[in-house]
């Protein structure tokens, strides 16, 4: 190397974020430990924000007294019922909008007009129609799940390359076969990501509906605990809700991995 020779400096560093799961667990554990220490030391008031261990104890009490299962069963029943109703009808409507001119012309403006309504605003109406019982809550959730499902489904059908449809036609496939063999499998990734959005909406709506008019359910548990200043029970409900959300996300992830292996 002569004096004028210089190595080229490496400039292509960074902007490559990766996931290190261990770091996430360490951060979570550190937060909980600090929180607990803060509570024990009296820096954090036990009444406004109970310690992690007290919240865990509250969950344990709710579980052993059997109270938890009643609330959980009520909420889960409403979520599952509302989701199945809203998702299945949304899927059919989305497919129709994705395939037929008539249903697209009529359905799309209706969906676009009703989509932005915060669905919880319709609960009082549904209570008048279906009574204060389960059906008004299920209807609210179904309504909330229906719209994102329709939008995700028709967008997913639109995203299936037309060339694949023409290919099917060129090989003489019937319209029904093109729908089931080309459009549906091609739309599946989009439909599944729509299902993710729909589940989180279902979770929001079940809590909101249970806060308005229910004696049982996680939303009711949280509201009554708040009224009684039982913040440990209140936060126990919140933790359970986040568990429910994680469970749903995990189940959908497993379904995606299974159904979309080809990707």
């Amino acid at each position: 190397m002569s004096a004028a020779d210089r190595p080229v400096a490496l400039r292509g560093k960074g902007f490559e974020p990766r996931l290190r799961p261990a770091l996430a667990w360490v951060a979570l554990a550190a937060t909980l430990v600090l929180w607990q220490i803060g509570s024990v030391a009296g820096v954090i008031s036990d009444l406004t924000l109970p310690s992690p261990l007290r919240i865990a104890a509250a969950i344990g009490d709710l579980a052993s007294s059997g109270e938890l299962w009643g609330h959980l069963a009520a909420s889960a029943g409403r979520i599952v019922g509302g989701f199945l109703l809203g998702f299945s009808t949304g899927l059919v409507a989305g497919l129709a909008i994705g395939i037929f001119t008539l249903s697209r012309s009529i359905g799309l403006p209706v969906v676009s007009a009703l989509f932005p309504i915060p669905k919880i605003a319709l609960l009082p109406l549904f209570i008048l129609w279906f009574g204060i019982g389960e059906w008004s809550k299920i209807a609210t959730i179904a309504f909330g799940v229906f719209f994102p499902t329709v939008v995700a489904t028709y967008a997913a059908v639109d995203s299936v390359p037309r060339n694949l449809v023409r290919m099917g036609q060129s090989f003489g496939l019937e319209p029904a076969a093109i729908t089931t063999k080309i459009l549906l499998p091609g739309a599946l990734p989009g439909v599944l990501s729509g299902a993710r959005i729909a589940t989180s909406i279902a979770l929001i709506l079940v809590v909101a509906a249970e806060m308005i008019g229910a004696e049982r359910g996680i939303g009711a548990l949280i509201l009554t605990s708040g009224h009684l200043m039982m913040t440990d029970r209140l936060l126990a409900g919140v933790v359970i809700l986040s568990g429910l959300g994680l469970l749903a996300a995990w189940a959908l992830g497993a379904l995606e991995r299974r159904l979309l292996r080809w990707r």
């Binding site: 060129s170 003489g172 496939l173 019937e174 076969a177 089931t180 499998p185 979309l260 990707r263």
Partner: protein, 284 residues
């Protein structure tokens, strides 16, 4: 089977893409259609395949398809058009599913019972007639073997190179033993070495299957090396500007063959000015 185009004219809105095109492709012959970009080559092929209705004119096939033919006209696409969720064998099997037999697992349209097969669910139009499962598997195996895909039966398209993906596309077009093969720039998405290998495969397949072929391309050497006759189209709207027969047996076709080079040079002199003009055109 022969295929004949009579006065094909096509407009997209106000844009004329084809103008009164007529030609006949004889039984077992390969016609290459070449022209500057945007001259309506792909539109022509879609019309020939019944995927698009021409503004005027008609397409006629003449003669009987050969024995064992399930679909007289099939297609090979520039972008392969494979179903990414199906394996190689599943993709090749797809055209057979239009012929009265259900998928062994999914039934026709996925509606049949998983174990009872299509018990009770006959094909809506063809009823119970059609291929039995054994014949169908033979057909798929045969088409895969012809295209050198035996080892890749269970692979998904994304796992394959472009050349292999297009081999799947060709196997899929051959599985129904077509009388007429329509190929829309089948090698354009491939690199030049893969292209040379596939050209050899195509020449061999034409010797074996003797399917009448319309081969659309913008590549001069492809046209000169593969075709029995070349139809040169003008810039948009596409009209016939020349027709060049190539009298050279398929066995003798290869790169650098004097006649092939001569045809290529002639094509370039015909297309050069048109291509220059076409490249400068601005589409509204």
């Amino acid at each position: 089977m022969q295929i004949e185009a009579r006065g094909l004219t096509h407009h997209y809105g106000g844009l004329a893409v084809l103008d009164g095109l007529s030609f006949t492709v004889g039984d077992g012959r390969v016609l290459a259609v070449i022209g500057p970009s945007g001259c309506g080559k792909s539109t022509l092929l879609r019309i020939l395949g019944g995927l698009l209705a021409p503004t005027a004119g008609e397409v006629i096939t003449r003669g009987e398809p050969p024995a064992g033919c399930l679909n007289p006209i099939t297609y090979v696409f520039q972008d392969f058009a494979l179903l990414p969720w199906r394996t190689v064998a599943g993709n090749v099997e797809l055209p057979l599913e239009a012929n009265g037999l259900a998928h062994p697992r999914l039934g026709w349209g996925g509606l049949a019972h998983p174990r009872l097969g299509w018990g009770g669910l006959a094909h809506p139009r063809l009823g119970w007639g059609g291929l039995d499962i054994a014949t169908r598997r033979d057909r798929v195996r045969d088409a895969l073997a012809r295209c050198g895909l035996e080892e890749f039966t269970a692979a998904f398209p994304r796992q394959l190179s472009g050349g292999m993906q297009q081999r799947v596309g060709i196997a899929r077009a051959l599985v129904v033993r077509p009388a007429i093969l329509l190929m829309d720039e089948p090698l354009s998405a491939l690199d030049s070495q893969t292209r040379d290998l596939l050209k050899e495969d195509l020449l061999r397949l034409w010797r074996e299957t003797s399917a009448t072929t319309v081969y659309v391309t913008h590549n001069l050497s492809e046209a000169a090396e593969l075709a029995d006759e070349i139809l040169v189209l003008s810039r948009r709207p596409g009209r016939e500007s020349a027709r060049i027969p190539i009298d050279l047996p398929r066995e003798a076709r290869r790169r650098g063959e004097p006649l092939v080079v001569e045809v290529e040079d002639r094509l370039w002199s015909l297309l050069r000015s048109e291509a220059t003009l076409a490249a400068r055109e601005v589409t509204a």
